[in-house]
Amino acid sequence: MEETVQHFKKRSPKRKQERFGKTISLVATIFIVSIVFSILFFVASRGLRTFTEHGVSAIDFFAGTAWRPGEVSDAGEPLVGAFPMIAGSFLVTIFSALLATPFALGAAIFMTEISPKTGKKYLQPVIELLVGIPSVVYGFIGLTVIVPFIRQIFGGTGFGVLAATLVLFVMILPTTTSMAVDTLNAVPRYYREASFAMGATRWQTIYKVVLRAASPGLLTAVIFGMARAFGEALAVQMVIGNAALVPDSLTTPASTLTSILTMNMGNTVLGTLENDVLWSLATILLFMSLFFNILTRWIGKKGAMK
């Protein structure tokens, strides 16, 4: 009797194995999380120095429109108004998302509802390839094709928000499309069958049933695309013109957080205001990506509750 109890209570090697497995997989997870935190800490601690160490007021930084790091205003305040870049980043992000969303949703609907076979055979690889094209190449094509094109049509130099929007449009298309495809695929088959059984046409089914059911997921897809647009650096830098001016038209040179960041990082000295203020821009980027994530989570939750 006691023996059987012992037999059952004896710790089999499996327990040890389980603990081992749980530990190493948890270590891997914590490793990733700690990378995230060290980046956050590292970037934010440098970025905050603009305000703590150099005494720039937050209002001057976020709302100021004069960006001349290294120079001071007549009142002796450093000229580090980041508003032009913030505005530029938001504009290119919003415009490229506006442009890409119909295409991405269209392609996703096509791939899931209209012709899954053709979709899988042709569109899927196309989308995957678009992801694989390096940003440098996008920037290069933007510079040699899109900028001159815009110049011919709208005049000016061709550099600006419009050029960046067009480049980003192609760059975020795959992100948004593939996430939208996943979302649409997750809508249960019987939703569609029920709708068809009621005599609805294909488009009615898509529009009234599938898209409704998938709307939180689709919104998430769009936001992820926006997050990608917000963070893209090299390609945007090559086509936006990098003028720290609040954009007053789509075809005049502007700048984004990333473009100014990439361009100036190497030319500034660690620890100076010129350098720290760039890290402040990076901090904004970080918090924006945090914000995009929280937003998608929130949408996901709301969608789930409905």
């Binding site: 059987t4 209570k9 327990r15």
Partner: protein
């Protein structure tokens, strides 16, 4: 007349216990299962006889599968699930966190509703569990694979393609492979959760025959929705209803002369 929760007296029960001549395989005492705040099993005490087939029947939602899954502590895997009460196996309460769940499961095997062979070869499907439990030596393994496939009445059909993928087998063959996989570990008890519900009638009867042959060596507890199946193969039957067992008796008695009204309604097909 349908079974109606309001009309059914859940306190009226008829549950037999085993006498001295009938050896006990496993039993539960006042077993409760909770999923969060929801109480799925509300105090079930049953005794299962060795080398017999016992059927668990009852309408959907009667929690018979939940009960079955607590017998080898598969409910441990559901983080919100909590099981209280005793599960006595060889006089040990195996529903004790101290008890090694892996040793338990090895001795109480389980076969699921739809066949779930691993995406490995037929041979590996059987040998895999053995190897993971420390069985070594090609000869020993070969022998064990052959024996369990024979016991599961699958040997003749697959002996020439042991190295082929198990996923290429038919549904009935896959389910018998799963049975073979479970018995390869030489468990004493075999739990089956509606093992034939995904199969066609011919495969079903093959599985049933296999079970009847297996009873010589194993104690079998099977959840089924199929009344005929229960009456064909099982020695005892327990009728589950809303987390309670209302009646537990010889299968013959349950199907011909049940004590409880709700059981009669159910086995005679009056239920919904």
């Amino acid at each position: 007349m349908a079974v109606n929760p309001e009309e059914t007296d859940l306190n009226k029960k008829h549950i037999v216990t085993l006498n001295e001549k009938e050896p006990l395989a496993i039993s539960t005492k006042d077993l409760h299962v909770y999923y969060g705040k929801f109480e799925a099993i509300k105090g079930v005490s049953l005794e299962f006889e060795k080398n017999k087939i016992t059927s668990l029947i009852g309408p959907s939602g009667s929690a018979k599968s939940t009960y079955l899954r607590s017998l080898n502590r598969m409910n441990d895997e559901i983080s919100s699930a909590k099981v209280t009460g005793e599960i006595l196996y060889k006089n040990v309460n195996i529903n004790d966190p101290e008890v090694d769940v892996y040793t338990t499961r090895k001795q109480i095997g389980m076969v699921f509703q739809s066949p779930n062979p691993f995406s490995k070869s037929i041979y590996e499907n059987i040998a895999f569990g053995l190897k993971r439990h420390g069985v070594k030596g090609k000869e020993t393994l070969d022998k064990a694979v052959e024996t369990s496939l024979k016991q599961a009445a699958l040997w003749d059909q697959v002996k020439d393609k042991l190295n082929q993928s198990a996923l290429a087998l038919s549904g009935g063959q896959q389910q018998r492979l799963c049975i073979a996989r479970a018995i390869a570990l030489k468990p004493e008890i075999l739990l089956l959760d509606e093992p034939a519900s995904a199969l066609d009638p011919i495969s079903t009867s093959q599985v049933e025959e296999t079970l009847i042959e297996l009873k010589e060596n194993y104690t079998i507890i099977i959840v089924t929705h199929n009344m005929q199946q229960a009456s064909r193969i099982s020695d005892r039957t327990a009728f589950f209803y809303l987390g309670h067992v209302l009646e537990y008796d010889e299968t013959r008695k349950i199907f011909t002369n049940p004590t409880i009204q709700a059981t009669e309604d159910y086995v005679s097909g009056h239920y919904g």
